[in-house]
Symmetry: D2
Subunit: 377 residues, 4 copies
């Protein structure tokens, strides 16, 4: 019978691609701009990302969906954070907890194949993500660490960004690998939001925490996804004049960031500008009306994204994301860009003051933006 | 210049398809079972759904993602609820709040076209979902009702199912259309879970609620997605011996329900069976490793879904969901199926007792299932 | 070791779906027209196909690509032919020869599964098409019959329609199943064109025929794809005033029929109308610029397809084609439609006269339709 | 009103990407091999292509489908030809005639956008391919040159490779750009096969040629697609011991090359090896059973492609083809590879002798490769 090590081979680890060490990525992506189809789209997406970085008073949101870190794109994200190319991240839970934090605890992902007997994997407690594997026993360790983190927090509702910051602190102290983006974001004060935070290993952690507290009749932590949305909206409102979104995949993160424009309006900020720059790398498709593939043009009908600088790139992220990030990195806009450290925004007594200020504008005119754009502000 | 009524034409409303009134849908889908490709897959999916309904001590979870209600599938869902063909729903927020609840308030969706000038729509405050339109002013009314609902709740963390039950009660009292599934679920005591509940009109509602409370220095409601996961896990643990999942689209709802098997194990229930029946209708694709398109076979490596009765159907839901639901409805398994009324499970003092009971089994053996499946239970 | 009969089970034959025996297909598809996405597209496609049939002096071309007959859609096509709902067919070779003619020889397709060991199938001489199987030994019989047909023809270049007519005659005399569309088209005088005719079992037949004739130093048959295009162009020019195209899949057949408009112009018919009605059922996607997924709107820029009545339906044909054909059949436009018998057009001395006539118009004005572009060549 | 030059801007020409001038493409693609999903597949495809080039007595077939040359990939193909990295090409007609030959005549493709009014383009005689444009007047010149080429040939059936060789000779003499692959193949004696040769500008050329000859009562040229298949089979049989296929897109070219293995068997060569190396770059999808997306594993059940060294890469070719070709070029296997000059194979009296030789083996054993299936026909 097969052994676990037949599948989980230390010589077959997924290795994270390093966009900073290849020459000519910028030239390659620029040349693609004179061809067609997705190559040209990719090239234009790089131009738009670059413009967003050069915006004077700008903020760049990075949205992450899909199994990016387990697939070998961790260092791409970390490099963007370390080089001040992203000011806030909105992600699925799996990428943040089950993959990045998980690797920070010392674990790895293993190259595998989709052509395998899943019943056999199940017997061996190996989880498969298309063509690579995870040791489920190690994933359970991750769950347990999450439970411990919740157990150590004061019992109250938390925005995901608060918990993830705790995770970053945990990695600095106890982590075994220090190349992940959760830790990088902690060091660089880049906030990470996970709107569906219970839909991952953090969920297993909180579930056990709450279950135990219920049995013990004690107060507990909870995950306030409403607060996530509020805080992200505050960032959109106060983080910079213009904003750009770089979306890898679609799903909840995509929608969440886009909706902050509407949300700011709901909070009374009638002159909150749409996202000025928006690019999305996706394999999804708009033709079934699902969100992940809805085009950015469609989003513009909702008043979320401006039309001038938006670009969809239809292609799988392991190929397109390194090219995009590598080309923009090579252009060097980040060299003259300062760290925004938006995590600090949420700290200190000042924060409530800022929130109060943000609602001075009248709420009663909340839907005015579309009708009288001129008379606003 | 174009007027709003040029696009929002009362004679061009989206109308909800009624699967109960067509003859021979069962024969049609059965005949597809002797052809190939997605038609045969669809036919097998109908067989599996039907088997799940005939399971003695079984529970059926319905997962909803994609713009289903706005597209005209509201009545399909309501019919499943009213006919005891589904015992719990896990959904995206947009379907529940922006679409079903929204229509319950008296509003409608309008047939349109994707070949349209989105800048013009934006000027007119019309939102587009691929080929149909929404009046954004009406959507803002929906946001406001949500704020009011939160304002009227005692300030504490809430699972989404609690808030959505309030929404059902609201519709019974104040609603103008009574054919939606939020109201049907309220009446039939079918719980609805939305793991990313702030990612929709409910998010706009909670954001304004919290923002105001912060300014006023008062306690506030929060949306506890951890509790959602815990409660859904309890349902999986105690709701019935065997479970089936009918997934329309992928995304968070798909993952959330599947993860309850692992979550039950984390809570110490080592003999929690995998989901025995599982079908998914999707246009997504597994080849980029994203979750929505990950096959159910892959899920089985995670110990979430059993392999015997699973079926992916690759196709767009407006075509495939009415066929699936219509065929299974026609077979009549629901006629001898009693309402499970799982919403009642969460009420009463009994609930904490149940939760306590569920953790009698030792937590220390939590990962044992895969290693010693024999010695469990 | 596995035996051939383990895979090729007579009780697991693919059975061809019969669109004439289900009630309410028209009502179902009509109701889909008030929903959205692909369901609404499908409904509109049915309306357009119906309009094409009701056109007074109209011609309907059916284009076939994809593994339609092996998948169980043979009877759908045959029913369209028998009920005067199609006047000419353009197809891939596999559908015509390897699948329809093959079944006419008495053979069948077997239901199978994609989750199978292909090396094992190869050992057993079983060919797999995604989820169904073919006995390769039987396919070789088909190749041999094709060689014999070529051996019995006078040695000269042939349009595919001529050879396929011989195949129809062969089936009438020697066939064992008489429910295929090759035979139906022979009986009803509906011409079938296969532009890439050597890319199928007919190719194996001609290759052996030519190889033998080369060795023997004798004259041989050849497959004149130029003549196919010429003859199809003549049909477009003289077959009726307005034309409609119903395309299942894309590929060469789609392009071939569309190009007849341009070709007619090249032959000097400057007032040859674009195809007035056009629907396509496809899973392909336009975003890579490949032909199969290029939208009909794009085709209109080429002057091939009119914009007023065109509809793409993105979905897999085993589900969408029976719904489309069944709904249109139920509406009964065919009842008052006479057989066009276009095969007869190509017979008799008259034919050359018609060809001559068709070029009376001046060639020098060939590009006139698009507003006489200046001065070429 | 819009003018033609508004769309056809000489400063917005599609420019062909040059894979020989970027550094580190090999390192980039190699690093992708340690990540996952399509990046890893792409990396493995490069390894397989490289192995095929290093095979001692090997032949490499390049299959082309999709709008590759108009999209800016002409130089990629020409570079492969000029560097002895491909020994025969099988293509759609559009790539060879409407795009490569067309550009050789001095014309260009123009960058555009899919978000455009196609009716306006039609008025201006501009043809659109998703996001780029062609001057239809120039395309008509191409049609006319093709007619002239046919008019100048002796009236008999022609394999496409013969006509395309004439086109190469034409370009050497009369061409205005000399960087295309039709001309490169002529110079390097690399044969090009187009199985559906009338489905392109060559089709318009032959149609007018034949139409005129019919009117004049004179003998004419015809396009013998049977001969294409025979000649390609001869290449597979005699061109080298092992063969590899590099497929860009799917469609007829893919099937045609794969079928040569079966065809060789039909001609009596029972030990004709399957294609040993096979890679395909495609956006197609196997789930509808259409050919373009059928996996290479499925092809192996047909005895066409060996399983050991095959790789599908799901992604759009403008992105993936330059990466694949660039990486393999950088590895330099071509430097020690001699030109095969397979066009010469078909010339001289020797050819018939070879054909005769190839049939010495008994035909009666034709199906022997797959373990002598019992008794057919």
């Amino acid at each position: 019978m097969a052994k676990k090590s037949d599948f989980l081979n230390k010589k077959q680890l997924v290795k994270h691609i390093d966009i900073t060490k290849f020459k000519d990525m910028d030239k390659l992506v620029a040349a693609m701009g004179d061809t067609s189809f997705q190559a040209r789209n990719l090239s234009r997406a790089a131009d738009i990302f670059d413009m967003a970085l050069r915006e004077k008073d700008g903020m760049v949101f990075l949205c992450l969906a899909g199994s990016l870190v387990s697939a070998g794109l961790k260092k791409v994200i970390t490099d963007l954070v370390d080089n001040n190319m992203v000011d806030a991240i909105v992600s699925t839970g799996a990428i943040v907890v089950d993959q990045d934090f998980f690797e920070g605890l010392g674990f790895s992902h293993y190259k595998g194949t989709p052509f395998v007997n899943d019943a056999e994997l199940r017997e061996l407690a190996i989880d498969r993500i298309y063509d690579h594997y995870i040791d489920e026993d190690e994933l359970r360790v991750c769950d347990e660490v999450m439970t411990r983190i919740f157990d150590n927090l004061a019992p109250r509702p938390y925005a995901s960004r608060e918990v993830i910051r705790e995770m970053g602190a945990y990695l600095v102290k106890h982590g075994k690998k220090h190349d992940g983006f959760v830790e990088a974001c902690y060091r660089k004060n880049v906030p990470i939001f996970v709107p569906a935070f219970s839909d991952c290993s953090a969920g297993f952690g909180i579930v056990l925490h709450q279950h135990n507290r219920i049995r013990q009749g004690k107060p507990m932590c909870s995950l306030d996804s409403g607060r996530d949305f509020l805080d992200l909206t505050y960032l959109k409102m106060h983080g910079g004049k213009e904003s750009g979104i770089v979306m890898i995949g679609g799903g909840v993160p995509k929608n969440f960031v886009q909706d902050t424009v509407v949300s700011a309006e709901v909070l009374g900020m009638h002159d909150c500008p749409m996202h000025k720059y928006a690019v999305q790398l996706t394999v999804a498709d708009e033709r079934d009306g699902a969100l992940s593939g809805s085009t950015l043009k469609e989003a513009s009908s909702w008043g979320k994204v401006d039309l001038a600088f938006e670009q969809m790139v239809f292609g799988e992220a392991t190929v397109t994301f390194p090219l995009l990030a590598g080309a923009v990195y090579a252009r060097g806009a980040h060299k003259s860009r300062k760290p925004r450290e938006m995590s600090l925004y949420f700290e200190g007594a000042d924060f409530v003051g800022k929130a109060n200020k943000s609602s001075k504008r009248q709420r009663g005119q909340a839907r005015g933006k579309k009708k009288q754009p001129q008379s606003v502000g």
